[in-house]
Symmetry: C2
Subunit: 596 residues, 2 copies
């Protein structure tokens, strides 16, 4: 059976002790009481454990049902969504002007993590709605906003993003869906979309699709794509779902995982829609939503890693098999729990180093998002730079590590992990999608080397390197942190050299940047986790110096040990990554097409 | 749709050009004609493509059926097995004294690979039978052998190995199944086993179980385990299936993958069995079978990697998306095939470097098996040493890389890989089991550091290091191979240092060896693949010097490029692995149980 309890102690540590210098403010700038935030997190922990977790394995086994254009979610999802909505979770980090609670991203990301840990398939329904909310909030006219946003915020309506078509996913310039003006200020859309998460379902009264399509006078390629809002039901003037619009779900996909999430094929037949933003400028607008979604997908990776870790630990403590190599630890039992074996610990600590490291990094980025939204002047710009830089890293690194962690959990379970009974193999199948959707991880890596690295002569990069190198420099001779500082300095040095290599080679030959991209992203990501781990170790040392009680001391000691594990047993990968990057593109590009 | 054609050209290269110094002999020592071997391989290629491949995705979707103790395999499996058996494939590498064809392991491993590429779930039925055959052939009395072996060889009967019980898998000392003498030379077995592949099915007339159980006077732990042959139907004196024995299938597992393979729970109720080998010496006898199975499981990893690679290449050539970074390669088409993108090539070449490298390594080991069976004196012992050393490496490395490759294939497909339609996500689910069964990969790593590394003061290790270091030394100044020799020398150096570190530390503290085990196995495996790649590069250079035709030249050029890719972009991982190993056990073992 899947076990999951939100890791509240660690969440509080990251929020208050690691990033505690970031004032907790609402979107309107009011200071948030720490106790209030903690009680919100407790509430979320309770909800995800009591309501969402029990539906996770069941939803996977049952899947969604499709009949005559109607999609039925797995048993229990409707009731859970009703509670979710009534509990105010859809309004959590939305604008108070439209009924939102205005909570900051740094708190929201923790709640998102809990939801995804408990039930990834479920999380996609409100997750996509939140993306739709953001898109409309930023790019919609006041008329559309006042008509649609309150419903997206209170969760009675949901949203989707309709980009992919059967023949194009990454290369959106190829889309064929057309939109023609109807002469009355709106448009009529015709075309087909695939892979639309939450494209049709039974959780909300209405579904608001954000659709990429081409206007009749569209220039070719990605510069000719416009964005439209297309509701399933056309709202009446008083904001109720009215006449059915020409959007039809023609099928749902049978997938490797996230079976509780309806992945839909949608056909638009003369469907009425409203233009969002300027004509032909749909892609940049869509990217508002996409960037936010990419960070959220990263959180999904972290979330699955956490859930998988908890299940694996529970099993490793309870499964008796063999004896500790250093002599029986539980001589009263027929065998020791497998937790005594170094290789089992290696797997568990790897998962743990990933989850806690990623959680710390996710809140560093979330704090920057908050800062980029309500900060002032240079600080605001710097925060926006940093967010832009870290978005592809969070998306790709977290989802790669999440998938690794899910597989490590299965490995801890052995054969019992491969059968469906314990629910850990579901984590592998569910986690796998996160490396693909919202831009494959390869695309994230290209975004990093092609857009983020060269932006403004490396200005984004400096938002990372400046604080990190300054931090290391101050701690190189630190008695307890000096060794970690040395390890981290090596990784940062490799990252700097790799950055320079790509900047120089890539300028002359884009394929050189492309060849280095994925390894560079991983090198960057592991280095960023290394920085987080060193800062966590420092925070733990500080807390231990204040002589906490035994349970708290155990928590901080574990931080120190896991930090050391990360530095000694994971960060060294950076050495090989740098060598790989430096080897250049030739061995990759030399092979002629026919030889494959 | 899944595509797979046996890579015959590469198989011939590895067999004749790379390991061509190994004479192809039958088990009885007759020389095999090269053309005959090639036509056997072609026959196997045809059979696996025409008969087994079409059942792969269907068998996965349908799964096995269980009702009232009866297991029905997916539609088509019975007919395919009949053809398999009638084609003589079950007899392929069996002893001619019992109706076998006596073909050598070096050819058998290639056929095994094809079968597993085409249909892993199907492969388990004959695969387990072959293990049973070997066990009985080596440890059975002449009476049992002459009664059972001909049926296992001609495939009318099949075999299983029954080790695992619900509460114990790795730690077999805990098994509870009991055997009592029946006073007439046989035994009566009572107990329950789980995870029994092919434990019950409808493909053969009889199923012969090899069961671990404890005799009444058994000493505790693994030194008190005996091995029994327990047929589903008790053979009549003339060798036909007679009365039903007390073996019952009580359930089949619902698994992540290999759904066409019946994974059974078996109950033995006063089942009649015959002792194999000496009382209480069942485990060493079972290991005859297990070691052979472990190599075969390694081949499964390679096989899935090959099938996944072929599907991914087909898709990468056909899917049009974006333009080459160096300018459009197919300006006549709406977009270029994704094969032009460096990151897609990185994924494909990684898969290719794995499959071709593993195939070369698998035949190096297969040649050693043949040599260990019919060689003389020192050569025979050396070959046996080498096989013992490489068994855990082949099992764990190949299955880890096979799983990676399957996931890379899904990544190449993107969203289309995550849905079931194309069949690539099945490779991920099928490949996952190979890292677990026949001893988890963590157990393989422990076998390597705990048994193989220290054996006879490092004698096994020398079977690897001696030829490899001598090979490198002779090519360090080679004009075309010198650079590769340098890269390989570094990896071998790291492996030697790591071996010394583990030998020294592990002698004083077994946990130190355990902490290093998995990273050491990977370091060893990648280094071994590096050696294979360098030798393949050398063979390709030699062939190119003989000015072959354009198609052949393309093949050898591709070998050179892929060798370079391996050396430059995969082998550098060894740098990080060595650093990790050297860090020792502390960060792994320091965390108290309560902190997890």
């Amino acid at each position: 059976m899947q076990v999951y309890q939100a890791p509240l102690r660690d969440m509080r540590f990251v929020l208050h002790e690691l990033h505690g210098d970031t004032a907790l403010l609402t979107q309107t700038g009011e200071a948030l009481d720490r106790d209030l935030v903690d009680s919100i997190l407790e509430e979320a922990a309770k909800f995800t454990h009591d309501v969402l977790l029990p539906l996770n394995a069941k939803g996977d086994a049952e899947g969604c049902h499709f009949e005559n254009g109607v999609v039925r979610t797995p048993e229990g999802f409707r009731e859970a969504y009703r509670q979710f909505r009534e509990g105010g979770w859809t309004a959590f980090s939305c604008d108070p002007a439209y009924g939102g609670q205005g909570l900051p991203e740094i708190v929201n990301k923790l709640v998102e993590e809990m939801i995804c840990s408990a039930n990834l398939a479920f999380s996609l329904y409100p997750g996509l709605s939140r993306g739709a909310y953001q898109l409309l909030h930023e790019h919609g006219t006041e008329e559309l906003k006042s008509l649609y946003l309150p419903h997206l915020v209170d969760g009675t309506w949901s949203g989707t993003m309709c980009l992919t078509e059967a023949h194009c996913g990454t290369d959106l310039g190829l889309i064929r869906t057309r939109a023609v003006p109807d002469g009355e200020g709106a448009y009529r859309l015709t075309g087909s979309k695939i892979f639309i998460s939450a494209g049709e379902h039974d959780l909300t009264e209405n579904i608001i699709h954000f659709v990429l399509a081409k206007l009749p006078d569209a220039p070719p390629g990605t510069k000719g794509i416009s964005l439209f809002l297309v509701p399933k039901f056309l709202p009446t003037p008083d904001g109720r779902p009215g006449a059915r619009n020409g959007v039809l779900c023609t099928a749902i996909e049978h997938k490797m995982g996230i079976n509780g999430s309806a992945t839909c094929q949608l056909t638009f037949e003369d469907a009425k829609g409203w233009l969002i933003g300027a004509p032909h400028r749909g892609l940049p607008a869509m990217f508002t939503m996409m960037n936010s979604e990419r960070l959220s997908v990263g959180i999904q990776g972290l979330a699955i890693a956490e859930a998988a870790y908890q299940s694996a630990v529970a099993y490793a403590k309870e499964r008796l098999q063999g004896r500790a190599l250093s002599g029986a630890k539980h001589p009263d039992k027929p065998a020791d729990p497998i937790l005594v074996h170094p290789d089992v610990r290696r797997m568990l600590l790897t998962m743990r180093a990933y989850t806690e490291g990623c959680r710390a990094l996710s809140l560093w980025v979330a704090a920057a998002i908050d800062q980029s939204e309500r900060g002032e002047g240079a600080a605001r710009e710097q925060a926006a730079d940093f967010t832009a830089l870290m978005t592809p890293i969070v998306k790709a690194l977290f989802t790669d590590l999440g998938f690794e962690a899910a597989n490590l959990a299965v490995q801890v379970y052995g054969g019992h992990g491969y059968i469906k009974d314990h629910g850990v193999e579901q984590y592998v199948r569910d986690a796998r999608i996160a490396q693909i959707y919202e831009g494959t991880n390869g695309i994230q890596a290209l975004d990093l080397v092609g857009r983020k690295l060269p932006a403004h002569q490396g200005r984004y990069l400096r938002r990372f390197f400046h604080p990190v190198t300054a931090y290391i420099a101050e701690r190189k001779t630190h008695r307890e942190l000096g060794k970690m500082a040395g390890a981290l300095e090596k990784a940062v040095g490799a990252l700097q050299l790799a950055s320079a290599f790509i900047a120089e080679k890539g300028l002359r030959d884009a394929e050189e940047a492309g060849a280095a991209a994925s390894d560079y992203l991983r090198l960057f990501g592991l280095t960023a986790l290394g920085y987080m781990w060193m800062r966590m170790a420092e925070a733990a040392l500080g807390a231990l110096a204040r002589k906490p009680g035994p349970e708290e001391a155990l928590f901080y000691q574990a931080k120190l040990t896991t930090a050391r594990f990360f530095m000694e047993r994971i960060l060294p990968q950076t050495a090989g990554l740098y060598l790989t990057i430096k080897s250049g593109k030739e061995s990759m590009m030399a092979l002629p097409e026919a030889a494959f």
